[in-house]
């Protein structure tokens, strides 16, 4: 089955031919922008504008219908008035693989419900799969096709399904800033035909995809989604951001059970039974995806003990509390680790139990080599499942050479190499919003993510992402 779903969906993720419906000769409509964007993104296949009268659009030969293009169409991008779409699809005469209908005015409004039925029927009759309607498009770096103005150019390993186009755009743009790289993002809109489960099946089978993220509001095919995720046994992490979870159970329920059920309960059940990780906010969603993109889960010893290492005493105390609430332990070291750290005779103000509070003076000593020795002791004797290095950049300003931050990260990576598979390494770069500092943080973050380190803005973000990793690891540990 898995090779079938790949064969079926690859024309969507790497189309050889793209038809664009709705572009105007003036070059200002959304489909004209789409043509420009995919050209800029490096799309090298054939582009067929479809237009009832024009001979040429944006310098490309135009065709009168989807049935008249030189080659069959792998992917059609359609943004015309709702009522015109069904007849357009019917004219495709079975020569279209995927039609993505951007237009709205269908099932999301009462008067469009019948039109959506008609649309789905036309797609079925034409033997094509339908995406949307009421969506924004697809972003697929491997196929060099994108609806988004900006986004990572590289092909990555994060596969996204979004029931909101706007949120899909946010995910791509924030991902660009945070170092996420995608194997694809599909805005699925009203899901008249292709639904979230179809794409989950694709991403599960797709060798390019390592982690799956899904923003979902309604799962009409919930039963199939449950069965698909259950049978996958969390072999790839799945992060779910569910909108509308607070909707109450049926008001008219006749039983206790009916009045107690609600979306929140059902999705919690889904997560418990399938190992998918539920998150509450877009930030948590991005943070968790970044964690799964960069780190390899340790299901044999799920993350439990966390060591905090960095500058900022109050920050580590607060983080210890916050992590505890998330089910992560920041526990004092045993005697052997404390003895080894005490023997190093670190400068005053350095705490040698967990959390390890190191003033900038200690961190920059010997160009960061002291930090390397401390980390080595922690890895060897402190039994960490994860180490969070937190650096308050404000405290480094004007006191250190620029290389100190790089040295610290290099030191941490060398320690990782000495103790392979021992602990997850997570970096928190704290700043205060001062523009120059933010700029420095941005550059540094980009370099760290390149090295495969997940970087977070605050301890709480890192905590939630580690909790997501822990949930996945525990499920696989218990069930696989």
């Amino acid at each position: 089955m898995s090779s079938n779903v790949i064969d079926e969906f690859m024309p969507l993720f790497a189309p050889k031919t793209v038809a664009v419906v709705g572009a105007s000769t003036k070059g200002t409509a959304l489909p004209n922008i789409f043509i420009r964007r995919i050209r800029e993104f490096g799309y090298a296949g054939a582009i067929y504008p479809i237009h009832p009268t024009a001979a040429e659009i944006d310098g490309l030969t135009a065709y009168k219908s989807l049935g008249e293009t030189p080659q069959p169409v792998d992917y059609a991008y359609i943004a015309i008035a709702a009522a015109q779409v069904a007849p357009l699809l019917a004219a495709g005469k079975g020569r279209v693989r995927f039609a993505q209908v951007i237009s709205s005015g269908f099932g999301e409004v009462d008067e469009g419900k019948a039109l959506q039925e008609e649309l789905a029927a036309a797609a079925r009759a034409g033997g094509m799969r339908l995406l949307g309607p009421n969506c924004l498009g697809i972003y697929t770096p491997r196929g060099r096709v994108t609806f988004a103005e900006i986004g990572p150019r590289e092909v990555g390993e994060v596969g996204i399904i979004s029931q909101s186009g706007g949120l899909g755009t946010d995910i791509i743009r924030r991902g660009l800033n945070r170092g996420l790289k995608f194997s694809g993002l599909v805005s699925v809109g009203n899901c008249a035909d292709v639904g979230p489960t179809d794409l989950v099946e694709f991403y599960l089978a797709d060798a390019q995809t390592k982690v799956i993220g899904m923003y979902i509001e309604t799962a009409k095919d919930g039963r199939r989604l449950f069965e698909t995720l259950r049978d996958a046994r969390a072999r790839k992490p799945v992060v779910v951001l569910k909108g509308g979870r607070t909707q109450q159970g049926q008001a008219a329920a006749a039983s206790h059970t009916g009045s107690l059920a609600g979306d929140e309960r059902v999705w919690l059940a889904l997560s418990r039974q399938t190992g998918c990780v539920l998150v509450d906010t877009l930030d948590e969603f991005i943070d968790a995806l970044l964690m799964f993109q960069t780190l390899t889960p340790h299901p044999r010893h799920p993350t439990q003990r966390v060591v905090l290492f960095g500058n900022g005493g109050g920050t580590s105390v607060l983080a210890t509390d916050y992590f505890a609430r998330l089910g992560l332990d920041v526990l004092p070291f045993g005697q052997s680790a404390i003895d080894a750290l005490a023997a190093m005779k670190l400068p005053p103000g350095t705490s040698i139990t967990n959390p390890v509070d190191c003033p900038v003076g200690t961190l920059q000593q010997d160009d960061g080599r002291v930090a390397e020795k401390i980390l080595d002791v922690i890895y060897a004797r402190g039994s960490p499942d994860a180490l969070v290095m937190h650096l308050n950049l404000s405290a480094f300003v004007g006191r250190t050479k620029n290389e100190v931050l790089d040295n610290l990260v290099q030191a941490a990576l060398r320690v990782q190499e000495h103790h392979p598979g021992k602990a997850h390494f997570v970096l928190v770069l704290r700043s205060d919003g001062e523009p120059k500092l933010e700029e420095r943080k941005r550059e540094f973050r980009a370099r760290a993510v390149e090295l495969g380190i997940p970087v977070y803005d605050e301890m709480a973000n890192a905590g939630h992402a580690l909790a997501a990793l822990q949930a996945h690891e525990r499920f696989v540990h218990a069930r696989a």
Partner: protein, 233 residues
């Protein structure tokens, strides 16, 4: 014994949206869930000095398609020890306003379950996900604190164990504050009979809209479903 699907189709033929108590219990019994031994009588005159082979104490409950909440209508009387007490209880019930006005199908006389922990097990057909199963501790835990756990059917034994562990009142099952631990194996067994692979909710996924087994009384002698309601689709 009537076959499970027969119980449901009989209720439908009678134009009912729900199974009455004996039909509900017969459905549970068909899936191997213990229900109290019981007889149905038409009225006080049928008692005839014997409890028809039941062991006291017994409970009497009115059976009527018009009465949703039997206790509220005065249609439940418990801890009756003799035939005379049962006959009296039925006579008193028939004078309750809500019962006097209702269609009466009879009276259910059943053995009382041994004392134990009250548990609620529920079922629900979700429009998107299909049958769901629920568990909670009885009384205020369900009704006030909404301390329940749901799973999508079919559930496995690991799921059933996870459901109990997820309850905020889970410590009570372990025997908190010097109380006796509750035999959770009996709860898990019942959950699987209701929500498991071949369980009641999967077999009747298209027919049952909502279900409450409330209470299921769990003691060292096992789990007994003392009341059950099934709302049909």
């Amino acid at each position: 014994m009537t076959a499970p699907s027969e119980l449901i189709s009989q209720a439908r033929k009678a134009g009912r949206a729900a199974l009455d108590e004996q039909a509900g219990k017969a459905l549970l019994a068909a899936y191997g869930i213990a229900v109290p031994r019981a007889v149905v009588v038409g009225g006080a005159a049928e008692i005839n000095g014997v409890l028809a082979g039941l062991t006291a104490p017994v409970a009497v409950k009115v059976i009527s398609p018009d009465i949703l909440h039997k206790s509220d209508a005065g249609g439940v009387k418990v801890n009756l020890r003799t035939a005379a007490e049962v006959a009296d209880a039925i006579r008193v019930m028939m004078q309750q306003p809500a019962i006097a006005q209702a269609r009466i199908d009879g009276f259910l006389i059943e053995e009382m379950a041994p004392a134990g922990q009250e548990i609620v097990i529920g079922g629900l057909r979700d429009a998107d996900f299909g049958p769901l199963v629920m568990v909670g501790l009885g009384g205020i835990f369900v009704e006030v604190l909404a301390d329940v756990a749901f799973r999508i059917c079919p559930i496995t034994r690991v799921d059933a164990e996870g459901m109990l562990a997820e309850l905020k009142g889970a410590a009570i099952l372990q025997g908190a504050r010097g109380r006796k631990p509750v035999p959770t194996a009996a709860i898990i067994d019942t959950l699987l009979k209701v929500g498991g692979d071949d369980g009641l909710l999967m077999r009747h996924a298209d027919e049952i809209k909502e279900a409450d087994i409330n209470p299921l009384i769990v003691s060292d002698s096992g789990a007994v479903a003392v009341d059950a309601r099934f709302i049909l689709t």
